[in-house]
Every structure is written in structure tokens, then in C-alpha cells.
């Protein structure tokens, strides 16, 4: 892959990211109900993050043993984040709701 091609890909990724940002702003004005809006925004953000990770951070280009370790250490924190949030919802998410 020549350097110029690599750079071209970076520009394409950038344009895609800006486009997705615009999309995020646009759909936030459409009322899909609270879970719908949140879900869609997070989904788009998640996709943007994957794109940044794969192309800008070169995760796509990793090879070898380091690749597996890197993927494992990148993936696991998101799992832990999910566990933290899910288990906090009944006590804090729904509790504070009841308070209000």
C-alpha cells in the first residue's frame, strides 16, 4: 500500500466521520422516543469509534501475537463498562427515578 493511498484512506475516513457527526446531529432532532434517540446516538458513536480505532489507530493493520493481545485489552474494558452500567441501573438508575 503506497503512502499516498494510505493518506487517501485517512481523508476518506475523516469525511465519513464528519458525515456521521452531521447525521448524529440531524437524527437528534427527530423524536424517536428517549430510548430510541439514545440508542441511535450511541450506535452511531460506537461505529465512529470503531472506524477511528480501525483506521487511525491502525488496529486493522496489526499482525501477529501483539494483535491478539491488543484486541483483547481493547475489547475487555468495553465489556467491563457494560457490566458496570448494567448493574448500576437497578440501584441508581431506577432508584433516582423513584426519588423523582
Amino acid at each position: 500500500m503506497s503512502a499516498e493511498n494510505h493518506d487517501k484512506i485517512y481523508f476518506k475516513v475523516f469525511y465519513a466521520l464528519v458525515g456521521l457527526t452531521a447525521l448524529t446531529v440531524a437524527v437528534s432532532h427527530i423524536n424517536l422516543g428517549r430510548p430510541g434517540n439514545i440508542g441511535l446516538a450511541v450506535l452511531i458513536a460506537g461505529f465512529k469509534v470503531c472506524v477511528v480505532g480501525a483506521f487511525f489507530m491502525h488496529l486493522k493493520d496489526e499482525r501477529g501475537e501483539m494483535r491478539n493481545w491488543t484486541y483483547a485489552f481493547v475489547f475487555f474494558p468495553f465489556v467491563l463498562f457494560g457490566i458496570l452500567v448494567i448493574l448500576l441501573i437497578p440501584d441508581v438508575g431506577m432508584r433516582v427515578m423513584a426519588q423523582n
Binding site: W69, F76, P77, I83, L87, L88, D91, V92, R95, V96
Partner: protein, 634 residues
């Protein structure tokens, strides 16, 4: 001029020149062995300091409002009249101290009617907080990870240093800064934090509730933030080291269990500690910036007016985020100790560890399950029944890997040629004490049982059995065992045994009765329970007994200190492998030379080949970098 050349392992790592000046050799060292020693000595200071605080607490419990011997007289603040006498000039006279740990003398007509130097009520909670915080963050974690991890990991994997030596030095100095901060809090006007090492808000966040919250409490937060940062950097360093720097032939299944335990611990350190950092920063904001993460709306103290806080937060949020880290933290507190015990056991039973793969799998099981059990610290905080059920289940599940390890240790001992040298004694007592601590843990895991037991001395007994009886005993064993590698000399075996005997007996006399105290309903973190609660008065005899045993336990540690420091300078010089142990560090000289190994070893087999091929050449041990006798025979 520093000369550098590429290492002989063919990977392209660099060798650092050994420094000659005192400063670069002992102060700003980047050598993992020296950094390990720095951690060790700092942590030993805190062990003494934290232990002293525990004895002060025990004194107050056994002899409420009695002046503490020696320390009380030395450290009591001056009363108003005494200040007038000492500072005649009103302009330069300091105000009488408030929120002190010790009481001041009470004077009448210029004469002392009540001696000061007893533990003040608010002082007791400061001691509780500082004892816990120091022991966990400034003693056990630094010794296990900072001292043993740093010193042993490169040696065990056949490397010359860790992956990032300069970051390693940074880790230590972050720890040092944290140490200065936490000690500095004692000199603040409102004193140290007093909300327990768990620092639950709103108490820990609002200075209307605890005057120290926005000063000593904030310093506590910052200190822990630095030490957490130190922990994270170390975790990153150790993970990178173990993944990338193992010597040729050192496959994952040939790693000593010490290294495996450090690896799993490093995962916890890297991924769990940052969540503590987030919690600490939110608490800090609540303390000093008026935010409301953990402050509910309409909160008020005993006064009728609510505090002028907007509220909207929830105290349970702190508990969840705090324990999300602090439960993995307790695995940080035990796993390296388990690794040390495994290595010591194998060496002193002259037998391979039974079930190496199961041992590794158990530790991996603890690693995954350790992230989903934290709610068992919160059974009584008002979490729902469903959450309680979930955490009860996961907590009971996580007992299984630990149980597997205990059975494997016992199976290792069975049929072994048990040595009674002191490291062996520590390993055997580790297994027994850890088992007792683990058993009380099973009781507490069951939510219905935890309801009466929570926040009683039953819990105190549990964690002292696993952390003191377990980890600290493994630490004493490890220090005795690896002393030749650290300092090139041997500790006195006789005095090590004396220390072990006194510690083992005094430890059990101190902490076993606490199970009974807890079952009797004696709550924790209270300095004068029997004065306040009539139903506890029958237990006071036990309290006094425990205090006496604790004093014996505390003073017994002086034997260890004397042995340790005397032997460092005057102990008999050690050979390379005085224990005939298999792991790689014993193939190099005692003390370990700066570059660890003359040549990077090539590993031939696992670390526990004791008596593995008894019919061959007379030796019951096989260093990891030699071919096994069976292999040599062909």
C-alpha cells in the same frame, strides 16, 4: 558516557549501564531490583505506622478513655490553659487544636484533673480510616506488587528488567508522593479523613458532617489518586513485561505461579483502578467544588435547615463505583500471596505443584469473576433483592477457584518431603489461615447470613484472616526465602522460627475471637461499644483479651525487624541457591547482579520439577534452564 549494546536475546532490547553514583544507584534508580527495595522499605515503614494505629484502637476498646501508654503522653495536644502558660503572648499563641486523635489534659484551677492522651471519639474514627487505608494501599499492595512483583517478575521470566524501567521508577515516586500526602494529613487543623477507608459520602463529602471532609478528606482522595496512578502504571508495565519479555523456552505453561499471579493482579490493577480514580475524582468534586454526584436533594444535618446543596445524586452511586474497584483490589491483595505460597510450598515439600493447569485456570476464573462480585459489600446498603441474589450467586461461585487452589496445595503437601525451614512454615500456615478466612467468607456471601454479620467484627475477623493470616504470612515467608537474592545474606533461621511461632499464636489469639464478637453483635468502627450498648458488656472480657493478644502480636514483629535488618548487614553470606529451588532466579548469584543473568537463560521445562525423575542422577530438583534428567537420559 553510557555504553549500550544490544542484548543477547536476539530481540533487540537494550542493556543499561550500571550506575556508579549514589544518587543514580539508590535514589533515582531504574533498576527493578532497587525499585523493589524502595517499595519494600517504604511499605515496611507504613506497616509499623499502621500497626501502631491498630494498637491504639485496641487500647481504646479495651480501656476506654484511658491514656494510651507512652504515645498518649508524647502526642497529646495542649489544653487551653497549658497553651496560655506556654505562649504568654496572646498574639503568637496557637488556638487549642480541635479534631485531634488524642484528648488533651483537663485542668481545673491549674491542676490536671483528667489525664489527656486517651483516644478522642473523633480520633478513633480517624485511626480506623488511616489504619485501613494505609494497610491496604501503602503496605500490602506495595509489598506484593511493588516489592515482590518488581523484584521477581524479570528474574522469573529470564529478563534483565521490566519493559519500561523509567516508568517503573515513576511508579515508585508517585507512591512516594502519595505517602507524603497521606502523612501530611495528620498535620492539618481538622486532621485526617475519618469516614473509614471506604469513605462513604455524604459523610466523606460534606464538611458540615465531618469537618475534615474538605481538607483531610480531600488530601486522602488526592493521595489515593496518586497511588492509584502508580498502580496503573505498574500494571501496564508488568503486563507488557510478561507478555513480551519471557526468555526463550519460557512458555505460558512454564511460568512460575508467582508470575501468573502477578499477571492476573496486573490485569486488575490496569483495568479496575481507573474506576476508583473516577470515583475519587467525583468525590473530590463533591468535597471541594460543590458538585452533587453523591449528595441527594434536601440533605440536612441534625439542624432543621437543609444544606444549600442542589442534590440530585445518590450515595449508592459511590458505593457501586468504589466497590467495582475495591473488590478486585482484594484479589490484588491475595493473588500474589497465593503465588508466593505455591512456589514456597513446592520448594519445601520437594514436590511439583499438584494441578498446575488447574491453578492457572483458577486464577483466570478469579480474574473474570472478580469483576462481578462487588455487590456483596453492599447487601445492607439498600440494594434490591434481585441484585442481592445476583451478587450472592457470583460470590459463591468465586469461592470455587480458591477452594480448588486450597485442595491443590494440600495435595502438593501430601506425600511430599516437608521441610520445617521457616519459609515452609509460613507457607503451611498461609494455607491454614487463608482457609479459615475463606470459610468465613462463604458465610458472608450468603446474603441472609450477612444481614446480621455485616459491619460486625465477624467481617473484621474474615479479612484479617485472609490478608494478615494469608497474604502477610506469605510475605514473611517470601522475604525470608528471597532474602539471599535481595541482600546476598541469609536471615537467622532460629529467629525466623521464633518470629513465626509468636506471630502464628498471637495472630490466632487476636483474630479468632473476633468471629465470636461479631456473632455476639459487636459492631465495627466503634471505640466504646460496651459503654454505649449494654448488650455488649458481656463481650468486654473478650475485647480485653484480644487487645492483650494484639499487643503481643505487635511486639513480636520487632523480632522480624531485628532479624531482617541485622541479617542485611551481618547475616551469613548466601550461596546462589541455598534452598535448592528450581526457578530461574536461583541460577544467578546472590545478591542478584545488576544485569540479572550473564546470558539470557534458555528454559527447558516448568518450574516445579522436584522429584520428578527420582530414579536418575541423585538430585531432587531441576533448575528451569537445565534439561531434565529424564530428557538427558534420552
Amino acid at each position: 558516557m553510557s555504553q549500550e549494546h544490544h542484548d543477547d536475546d536476539g530481540r533487540g532490547g537494550h542493556i543499561h549501564q550500571e550506575p556508579t553514583s549514589f544518587f543514580w544507584k539508590y535514589v533515582l534508580s531504574i533498576d527493578h531490583k532497587m525499585i523493589g527495595k524502595q517499595y519494600l522499605f517504604t511499605a515496611m515503614f507504613f506497616l509499623l505506622f499502621g500497626g501502631m494505629m491498630a494498637l491504639m484502637m485496641r487500647w481504646q476498646i479495651a480501656y476506654p478513655s484511658q491514656p494510651v501508654p507512652v504515645l498518649g503522653a508524647l502526642l497529646k495536644p495542649l489544653a487551653a490553659e497549658q497553651l496560655e502558660a506556654k505562649y504568654p503572648d496572646a498574639k503568637t499563641r496557637p488556638k487549642p487544636a480541635k479534631n485531634t486523635i488524642f484528648t488533651a489534659d483537663t485542668l481545673k484551677d491549674g491542676k490536671v484533673v483528667i489525664q489527656g492522651g486517651a483516644i478522642a471519639p473523633e480520633g478513633y474514627t480517624k485511626l480506623v480510616t488511616m489504619h485501613g487505608s494505609m494497610m491496604i494501599f501503602f503496605v500490602i499492595i506495595p509489598i506484593l506488587v511493588g516489592a515482590f512483583g518488581n523484584f521477581l517478575i524479570p528474574l522469573h521470566i529470564g529478563a534483565r528488567d521490566v519493559a519500561f524501567p523509567i516508568l517503573n521508577a515513576l511508579s515508585y515516586w508517585l507512591f512516594f508522593i502519595a505517602s507524603v500526602l497521606i502523612l501530611g494529613a495528620f498535620f492539618l487543623e481538622a486532621g485526617t479523613a475519618a469516614a473509614g477507608w471506604t469513605s462513604y459520602p455524604p459523610l466523606s463529602a460534606l464538611s458540615e458532617m465531618d469537618p475534615a471532609s474538605s481538607s483531610g478528606g480531600a488530601i486522602w482522595v488526592l493521595s489515593l489518586f496518586f497511588i492509584g496512578f502508580s498502580s496503573i502504571v505498574t500494571g501496564v508495565n508488568f503486563l507488557a513485561t510478561i507478555v513480551t519479555m519471557r526468555a526463550p523456552g519460557m512458555t505460558w505453561t512454564r511460568l512460575p505461579l508467582v508470575t501468573w499471579s502477578q499477571f492476573i493482579t496486573a490485569v486488575f490493577q490496569t483495568l479496575a483502578t481507573p474506576v476508583l480514580a473516577a470515583a475519587l475524582m467525583m468525590l473530590f468534586m463533591d468535597q471541594v467544588a460543590g458538585t452533587n454526584f453523591f449528595i441527594p436533594a434536601g440533605i440536612h444535618t441534625t439542624a432543621d435547615e437543609p444544606l444549600s446543596r442542589a442534590g440530585g445524586g445518590h450515595p449508592l452511586l459511590w458505593q457501586h463505583v468504589f466497590w467495582f474497584y475495591s473488590h478486585p483490589a482484594v484479589y490484588i491483595l491475595i493473588l500474589p500471596g497465593m503465588g508466593i505460597a505455591s512456589d514456597l510450598l513446592s520448594t519445601f515439600a520437594r514436590k511439583p505443584i499438584f494441578g498446575y493447569k488447574a491453578m492457572v485456570a483458577s486464577m483466570c476464573g478469579i480474574m473474570f469473576l472478580g469483576f462481578v462480585v462487588w455487590g456483596h459489600h453492599m447487601f445492607l446498603s439498600g440494594i434490591g433483592a434481585g441484585m442481592g441474589k445476583f451478587f450472592m450467586t457470583t460470590t459463591m461461585l468465586i469461592a470455587l477457584p480458591s477452594a480448588i487452589k486450597v485442595f491443590n496445595w494440600l495435595a502438593t503437601m501430601y506425600g511430599g518431603s516437608l521441610s520445617w525451614r521457616s519459609p515452609g512454615l509460613w507457607a503451611y500456615s498461609f494455607i491454614a489461615m487463608f482457609t479459615i478466612g475463606g470459610l468465613s467468607g462463604i458465610f458472608m456471601a450468603a446474603t441472609p447470613v450477612d444481614i446480621p454479620m455485616h459491619d460486625t467484627y465477624y467481617i473484621v475477623a474474615h479479612f484479617h484472616y485472609v490478608v494478615f493470616g494469608g497474604t502477610l504470612m506469605a510475605v514473611f515467608g517470601g522475604l525470608t526465602f528471597w532474602f539471599p537474592k535481595f541482600f546476598g545474606r541469609m536471615m537467622s533461621e532460629f529467629w525466623a522460627k521464633v518470629h513465626w511461632a509468636f506471630t502464628f499464636v498471637a495472630f490466632n489469639l487476636t483474630f479468632f475471637p473476633m468471629h465470636l464478637l461479631g456473632e455476639g453483635g459487636h459492631m465495627r468502627r466503634i471505640g466504646s461499644a460496651v459503654e454505649k450498648y449494654e448488650f455488649l458488656q458481656p463481650l468486654q472480657g473478650m475485647n480485653v483479651f484480644i487487645t492483650h493478644a494484639a499487643i503481643l502480636l505487635g511486639f513480636s514483629q520487632l523480632i522480624f525487624l531485628a532479624n531482617f535488618f541485622y541479617s542485611m548487614f551481618y547475616g551469613p553470606k548466601a550461596e546462589a541457591n541455598p534452598w535448592r529451588s528450581n526457578t530461574l532466579e536461583w541460577t544467578t548469584a546472590s545478591p542478584v547482579p545488576y544485569h540479572n543473568y550473564d546470558r539470557i537463560p534458555i528454559v527447558q521445562h516448568g518450574p516445579y520439577e522436584y522429584n520428578a525423575a527420582p530414579e536418575t542422577t541423585g538430585s531432587d530438583w531441576q533448575p528451569q534452564d537445565r534439561q531434565t534428567n529424564a530428557a538427558k537420559k534420552g
